[in-house]
């Protein structure tokens, strides 16, 4: 009788503790939604029986132990970006029993995210990523507090936000946000675990930690926008950010538990194609750094989009190289096709993208070949032009329409074609198709693949 009474009471205490935790998490989310400061995580002296069981496999590690686990449960981590890096990072931090996870992302879940952003689900398409991630994490570990911020990190809010957390993980995907997060961490005095990935490579550095350098120490000047490639343009194999996000989670856990990080003043470079990790010794903190140096010129957050010359929220840059009269819309091009107006359509995308999908009547010449004035390609185009001219008996400038994925490279290609001397291709009239094949897919032919 007494045993079962004790068991009943234990179960009741467990139930109420879970309820309390859930209420605290709800309170944190509600406070965050109101923009109010979060209450500090409660200081704890010991682990409960449920926690001991749950974390037993890491508790027995002498490097972590009860002390480390208690530190984890008292630690708040801000995750900036719930994408390819943020998903695996947040997953391992939640599983390990971190106290609170702030999840920042302004974006919504899209089908093309699912190959790498492994917390989001097919059914969650269109949901804010911050909410989608929080929902998935809650199913994994309901004892962690999740605070979703479905918004872009901005210079007006970043500092207040970062101050409420102990460690920051930069899982963002653009240059302005990287400077913003780093500056906020320097001003708030928080360690920053930063990772990035593209194509088949990854990089990781821990900034502003134990006297080490900050992001600006390493990169005082931002790269010009035309030298920056994003995952949509450059591509990325999903597991690569997965690997980087996992190492990032590891470093956050080491910092949070008091073990300490291995990557202050070091960069980890990962080459997935070669299967190689490289450890690079970096410069120390720079005395003349604009924000963490001895006489900082930056003492508050700035306009980072202006500083970098690029947007923190745009998925793709849209170039405007050609005047309006040298561009046509997909609707105009469709009409021209229907009316069988003689022309040549040149697709200037790389081979790998043409393999994915293309318009059957297009001629393929990659932009890179055009830019280097590849003889074989120009000869091939010249021959096709000659045939079409004769077949249609066109004596005037022959129309060439150039298409690519989104309508940026097609403009560059038109400029190359225009600059060719007449002896190369004869008299031509080159224009590009605005919005490229993706506009074709969304406005003209819904069965055409989008990628």
């Amino acid at each position: 009788m007494a045993v079962s009474e004790a068991a009943r009471l234990r179960a009741e205490i467990g139930r109420r503790e879970r309820e309390l935790r859930a209420l605290r998490a709800e309170l944190a989310a509600a406070l965050a939604a109101e923009g109010a400061a979060l209450p500090p995580l409660p200081a704890r002296a010991c682990l409960g029986a449920a926690e001991i069981l749950r974390y037993s496999r890491q508790l027995v590690l002498p490097e972590l132990g009860v002390r480390g686990q208690l530190r984890l449960s008292g630690c708040a981590v801000l995750v900036v970006g719930c994408g390819g890096l943020g998903c695996p990072l947040a997953q391992y931090l939640a599983a390990a029993g971190i106290g609170r996870l702030g999840l920042v992302d302004h974006d919504a879940v899209e089908t093309s995210n699912l190959h790498r952003q492994v917390l989001h689900r097919e059914a969650g398409e269109g949901l804010p990523k911050a909410l989608s991630a929080a929902a998935a994490l809650r199913q994994l570990n309901s004892t962690v507090q999740y605070v979703p911020y479905p918004m872009a990190l901005s210079p007006s809010t970043a500092l207040e936000l970062v101050r409420q957390y102990d460690v920051v993980a930069d899982c963002s995907d653009n240059v302005p946000t990287r400077y913003l997060v780093s500056d906020a961490c320097v001003l708030a005095g928080k360690p920053l675990v930063s990772a990035s990935a593209l194509r088949l490579e990854g990089q990781l550095v821990v900034y502003n930690y134990q006297g080490g350098p900050c992001y600006r120490c390493l990169f005082p000047k931002p790269p010009s926008p035309e030298t920056v490639t994003n995952c949509a343009d450059g591509g990325v194999l999903g597991v690569v950010p997965g690997i980087m996000g996992c190492i990032q989670a590891l470093e956050v856990l080491k910092i949070a538990s008091g073990i300490g990080s291995s990557f202050s003043q070091f960069m980890l470079m990962f080459d997935a194609l070669e299967g190689k990790f490289r450890n690079i010794k970096l410069r120390p903190k720079k005395p003349d750094c604009a924000i963490c140096g001895d006489n900082p010129s930056i003492t508050s957050l700035q306009d980072y989009e202006a500083f970098c010359g690029s947007s923190a929220t745009d998925k793709c840059r849209t170039l405007c190289l050609l005047p309006n009269e040298e561009r046509i819309s997909v609707e105009e091009y469709k009409k021209l096709l229907d009316e069988q107006v003689p022309h040549i359509l040149v697709d200037v995308r790389p081979q790998v993208e043409v393999d994915i999908c293309h318009l059957v009547h297009s001629v393929h010449i990659p932009l890179s070949k055009l830019e280097e004035k590849n003889e074989e390609c120009l000869k091939f185009l010249g021959k096709r032009l000659c045939e079409e001219r004769q077949r249609n008996n066109v004596k005037t400038a022959f129309p060439i329409y150039v298409i690519c994925k989104l309508g940026n490279d097609s403009q560059k290609a038109v400029q190359v074609l225009q600059a060719l001397p007449d002896r190369e291709l004869g008299s031509i009239l080159a224009k590009d198709i605005r919005g490229g094949l993706m506009a074709w897919a969304s406005k003209i032919d819904p069965s055409f693949p989008q990628y």
Binding site: G81, G83, G84, L85, G86, C171, S172, D173, N174, V175, R178, A195, S196, A197, L198, R199, E201, G202, Q203, L218, F219, P220, K221, P222, P223, S224, E226, T227, V228, T229, N230, C231, G234, V236, P241, M267, M269, D271, R278, N279, I280, K281, L282, R283, S368, E371, E372
Partner: protein, 101 residues
Amino acid sequence: MAAPVSLLVEFGGGAELLFDGIKKHQVTLPCQPEPWDIRSLLKWIKQNLLKERPELFIQGDTVRPGILVLINDADWELMGELDYKLQDKDNIIFISTLHGG
């Protein structure tokens, strides 16, 4: 007269795309009156390896912002940057920083 210098020059993080997608280049710099340093190596790369759009790699006499230079797995800032005197068998890496996530 400085002896010829053999180097392993590597490009990564997307910088290799300016060099026909080839990441590793085994190069031998010829004899010249002055010893080779990173400054003269950059000029040599511009003349011998770089095909299109040099401004995406070199600006002025140095690399463009966003490219880290590594000398034998160390940040070039620790080694004297442009003035570092190249040694035979050195490994020089030019890595473009990634921003994707």
